[in-house]
C-alpha cells in the first residue's frame, strides 16, 4: 500500500550562533515557530498537532524541557508529543509528524524545537553520559572520540587522509558562506584546517562542528489540505529509519554485520526512504543531499550510505572529480551542513528544511540549480540511530 504524500508548507530556522543571550529557551522555539507559520501563511490556531524536537534534556539543563515549550508552539489543549533520538531527533520528529498525517489523524502538524548548546559548559561531559554505565562510562568516550575512531577505521580501510577530511571542511565552509543561517561562514583552506589544533586524533578543531544555539520549525500538511487551500508545497515522498548495535566494539573485530568505519544503518534508512519514493538510481535521481555529518570524516561514509558513491570512493571523487560541491555532481550539504551549524535538538530537522528549500527553489545564494529531488539524513546516539527523508518538488 502506497502511503499518502505529505507536504511541507512552511519552514523557519534561526540564524545559528554560539550564544543567544537575548532569548531564553522557549523564546528561541517561538522565534522558529513564528518564522515557519509566517512562511506557511496559516495561523497557529489551525495547527492540529505538534511534534516537539528535543534531544538530551541535560544539554539544556531542564528535565522534560518540552513541557516549557507548549505555549511557544501554541499547543495548549492540542495534540503534543516530544521525540528524542539523540542527534537524529529533528528528522525523527518529522517522521513522527509524517505518521500523524499519513494515518489520517491530522491534516496540519507543526514540528518545532531549539537548542542552546553553546550555553552548556560541559556538553562533552553530558555526551559522555550517553554511554552505558556497565562497561563504557568509565572511558572518556564522547561524540568526538567515537567518530575519531570511525575516521581511523575508514582511513585504514580505504586510505582516506587528513587532507581528504580537510577538503570536506573547505567545501562546506564555502557553501556556508552563501547561507545566512549558518553559524560558521568563514571560508577556509586545507592548510588552515591542517594547522588547527588537534582535539582527538585525527579530528582537529576545524574538522569539528560548532556548538550552536537556535531553533527550527516546519509545517506539514496533508495533500488534501494543500489542494483545498490552494497552497504551494514540496513533498516528503520517502521516509526511512534504521539503527545499529549500541556497542561500538561489535562494529569491528570478527563477524561484524556493520563496520564502525561505515554507516550501514544509514544506508538501510536511505534504502527504505528511496524505496518508498521510487528512487532506484540515487546518483541520477537525487539532485542534492543534506547529510548529517558533525565531523568532516563522517561526511564520506554518509555520502556512500546515501548511494552517491561506492564504499570508500567518495574522498577520491571529491579530490579528483570535484563531486559533491555546488556546481559539481550530487552536491552535498549546500547549506554548509552540520559542520557549519549544530543546534543538536534541531540539526537533523534543519537538514530536511534545507533539502526542502532546495527543491522549492528557495535556497537563495546556496541554491543548487534545478534541484527537484533531495535526500536528507540525521544521525543519533553513538552513531546508532539514522533517519532519512526524500523531499521532492
Amino acid at each position: 500500500m502506497k502511503a499518502p504524500r505529505v507536504g511541507i508548507i512552511g519552514i523557519g530556522q534561526s540564524q545559528f550562533k554560539a550564544r543567544r543571550s537575548d532569548a531564553n529557551y522557549p523564546e528561541l522555539v517561538r522565534e522558529a515557530v513564528t518564522l515557519a507559520m509566517g512562511d506557511s501563511g496559516r495561523s497557529l490556531d489551525e495547527i492540529e498537532a505538534v511534534v516537539y524536537s528535543l534531544a538530551p534534556d541535560a544539554l539544556l539543563g531542564i528535565g522534560n524541557a518540552e513541557r516549557l515549550g507548549v505555549d511557544a508552539v501554541g499547543a495548549r489543549n492540542k495534540r503534543f508529543m516530544r521525540i528524542n533520538t539523540g542527534g537524529s531527533t529533528g528528522i525523527s520528529s518529522l517522521a513522527a509528524a509524517h505518521s500523524h498525517i499519513a494515518a489520517g489523524a491530522c491534516e496540519l502538524v507543526l514540528v518545532a524545537g531549539a537548542d542552546k548548546v553553546g550555553e552548556c559548559g560541559d556538553s562533552q561531559t553530558i555526551l559522555n553520559k550517553i554511554w552505558d554505565p556497565t562497561y563504557e562510562r568509565s572511558l572518556p568516550l564522547g561524540t568526538i572520540t567515537m567518530l575519531a575512531m570511525s575516521a581511523i577505521r575508514y582511513m585504514h580501510k580505504y586510505g582516506m587522509t587528513q587532507e581528504d577530511m580537510a577538503r570536506i571542511v573547505v567545501k562546506n565552509r564555502a557553501h556556508a558562506a552563501l547561507n545566512p543561517n549558518a553559524h560558521l561562514r568563514a571560508p577556509t583552506s586545507i592548510d588552515e584546517v591542517m594547522h588547527s589544533r588537534m582535539i582527538a586524533w585525527p579530528i582537529k578543531l576545524f574538522d569539528a562542528c560548532p556548538q550552536s544555539s537556535g531553533g527550527c520549525a516546519m509545517v506539514l500538511a496533508s495533500e488534501d489540505y494543500i489542494r483545498r487551500n490552494g497552497l504551494e508545497a514540496v513533498w516528503i515522498t520517502g521516509v526511512g529509519h534504521s539503527s545499529e548495535s549500541y556497542y561500538i566494539g561489535d562494529r569491528m573485530g570478527i563477524g561484524y554485520s556493520a563496520d564502525h568505519a561505515d554507516a550501514q544503518a544509514l544506508g538501510e534508512a536511505c534504502s527504505r526512504a528511496y524505496k518508498m519514493a521510487g528512487v532506484t538510481d540515487p546518483v541520477r535521481q537525487i539532485d542534492t543531499a543534506e547529510l548529517y555529518s558533525p565531523f568532516s570524516n563522517t561526511e564520506f561514509h554518509a555520502i556512500e550510505a546515501a548511494g552517491l558513491a561506492p564504499l570508500g570512493q567518495s574522498p577520491r571523487m571529491l579530490r579528483e572529480e570535484g563531486c559533491f560541491q555546488i556546481g559539481g555532481r550530487n552536491p552535498v550539504n549546500p547549506s554548509g551542513g552540520v559542520l557549519c551549524a549544530n543546534a543538536i535538538a534541531v540539526t537533523a530537522m534543519v537538514r530536511v528544511a534545507e533539502a526542502a528549500l532546495q527543491v522549492w527553489g528557495r535556497a537563495g545564494a546556496h541554491q543548487v540549480k534545478g534541484a527537484q529531488r533531495a535526500i536528507a539524513s540525521g544521525n543519533g546516539g553513538d552513531h546508532q540511530f539514522f533517519g532519512a527523508m526524500v523531499v521532492e518538488a
Binding site: 534534556d57 513541557r67 521525540i83 528524542n84 517522521a95 505518521s99 499519513a102 489523524a105
Partner: protein
C-alpha cells in the same frame, strides 16, 4: 469511508521483578520484550518498528533510547522514542500502524529505581528562570491540584479516601504481591501528611516495572488468525500549558479535548459515554476523580456520592482501575502505558485474576507531567470498527 487501517493490541507484558537489583535495566527490557512477543505469538522479525518511552534523568543515561534499543530489538529496525510520556509511545505506534507504512509496532516503556532521589530528578523539570528553587516535584504538583479541587468540591477528602480504598481492594486481587499499601479507610485517612492534603497512604511507593505492548494492523491480524485483540476505536491526546500558575488546577481542559478527539473517532456519544470499564490516571485519588469527570463518566457534583456508593468498584456502574491503578502499583514513568495495557487486556479477555467478565469496550487514560499536564485517551473495543459498522 473506504478501507481505513485499523489498529489492534495483540500482546502485552509487564515485567516487575521482585528484586530489580538482580538484573541490569537492559536485561529487564529484554525480558519484557520477549514476554510481550510471546504473548502476541510472534517473533522479533515480525516487528516493523518500535517506539519506546523513558526519562533520561530517571534512567541515568543521557539518551535513554541508546543502550535500551538493542534490548527491545532495535538493531536493524526503525526505533523512535517519546520521552514526554509512556502514553505517547502508544499514540505514535498506533499512528504508524494506521498510516499503512508499518504492519506492526512494539511499544516499550520503563521506570527504574536507580536514582538516589526521584523527587530531585522531577524538580529538574522546573524552569531555571522562575521556579527551580521551589520544592516542586510531581507529588507537590499533585498536591496543589488536590488543594484546588478541595476548594471547589465540599467533602472531597472523604471521596478521595474512598477511591483509595476501592483501588487498593482491586489491587489486592490484581497484583497482590505488589500492593503493600494500606487498604483500610481508617488507615488511609489517618496517614502521615506528605504534602497537604496528600498523605503517605493516599499514594503508592515507586516501584520498578517495564511494560510492553504489541500493535498490529487489521490486515496483518486477519492474515494470522487467532489473535486476542483489543481494537483501538479512538485515540486522543492533548496538553495543558506548563506553568502551573497559568492554569486553573481545578480543571483539566486538555483531558476534555483528548476525550473529544477519541470519542469522535470511536463514535462514542460525548454527552453520555458508556464503557464496561475504565483505567485512568490515579497517582493520587484526586486524579482519578478529575479523570473520570474529564472522560464524561462522573461529573464533580456526583463525586462524593458516587465514591460513597462504591460506584467505581468492580461491581458498580462505573468499574474503574480494576488493576488497582497507580494507587496500588506505581511504576512512576510508565503508569500511563500500564493503564492502556490494562484496558487492552480486559478487552482481550487476558486480564487474569482481575478480569471483568464480558468486557466489550473499555477506556484508558494516562497522564504525565506536573498536575496532569499531558492527557491521553484510548477507547478499546472487542471488535474492529469495520465489523461493528
Amino acid at each position: 469511508m473506504g478501507s481505513r487501517t485499523e489498529v489492534g493490541v495483540i500482546g502485552s507484558a509487564v515485567f516487575a521483578p521482585r528484586d530489580p537489583g538482580r538484573m541490569s535495566l537492559e536485561e529487564a527490557l529484554h525480558a519484557v520484550t520477549k514476554h510481550a512477543l510471546h504473548d502476541a505469538g510472534i517473533g522479533i522479525d515480525d516487528i516493523d518498528g518500535i517506539v519506546v518511552a523513558a526519562n533520561d534523568q530517571l534512567d541515568g543515561r543521557a539518551i535513554s533510547i541508546m543502550a535500551a534499543s538493542g534490548s527491545v530489538g532495535g538493531v536493524g529496525r526503525d526505533i523512535l522514542s517519546t520521552p514526554s510520556g509512556s502514553e505517547h509511545a502508544f499514540v505514535l505506534a498506533s499512528l504508524r500502524v494506521r498510516s499503512g507504512m508499518y504492519r506492526t509496532q512494539l511499544v516499550v516503556s520503563w521506570s527504574p529505581l536507580e536514582v538516589d532521589s526521584i523527587s530531585e530528578t522531577q524538580r529538574l523539570s522546573n524552569d531555571p528562570y522562575y521556579h527551580r528553587a521551589l520544592p516542586l516535584d510531581d507529588l507537590s504538583s499533585h498536591a496543589l491540584q488536590a488543594n484546588a479541587l478541595e476548594a471547589k468540591v465540599p467533602g472531597l477528602r472523604a471521596a478521595a479516601v474512598q477511591v483509595t480504598v476501592t483501588n487498593r481492594r482491586h489491587g489486592a486481587l490484581a497484583y497482590p504481591e505488589y500492593a503493600p499499601a494500606p487498604r483500610e479507610a481508617v488507615l488511609i485517612a489517618g496517614g502521615k501528611m506528605l504534602r497537604w492534603p496528600i498523605t503517605d497512604a493516599m499514594v503508592s511507593q515507586p516501584a520498578f516495572a517495564a511494560v510492553a505492548l504489541v500493535l498490529a494492523s487489521d490486515e496483518w491480524i486477519s492474515g494470522r488468525g487467532n489473535c486476542k485483540t483489543a481494537w483501538v476505536h479512538g485515540l486522543g491526546w492533548a496538553t495543558e500549558t506548563a506553568y502551573l500558575g497559568d492554569r486553573d488546577l481545578s480543571r483539566l481542559p486538555s483531558l476534555q479535548a483528548a476525550a473529544a478527539q477519541a470519542y469522535q473517532e470511536a463514535g462514542v456519544d460525548a454527552q453520555a459515554p458508556k464503557f464496561d470499564l475504565a483505567e485512568v490516571a490515579d497517582a493520587t485519588p484526586y486524579q482519578e476523580l478529575v479523570a473520570l469527570e474529564g472522560l464524561g463518566l462522573c461529573p464533580r457534583a456526583q463525586w462524593v456520592d458516587a465514591a460513597q456508593r462504591d460506584a467505581f468498584g468492580r461491581d458498580g456502574p462505573t468499574p474503574t482501575n480494576l488493576s488497582g491503578g497507580a494507587l496500588s502499583f506505581n511504576p512512576v514513568f510508565c503508569t500511563g502505558l500500564m493503564r492502556i495495557a490494562e484496558a487492552a487486556n480486559q478487552t482481550r479477555g487476558c486480564a487474569g485474576a482481575h478480569q471483568l467478565p464480558g468486557v466489550k469496550t473499555a477506556v484508558a487514560h494516562g497522564a504525565s507531567g506536573f498536575a496532569m499536564q499531558y492527557n491521553t485517551v484510548v477507547v478499546f473495543g472487542q471488535h474492529s470498527r469495520e465489523t461493528t459498522q
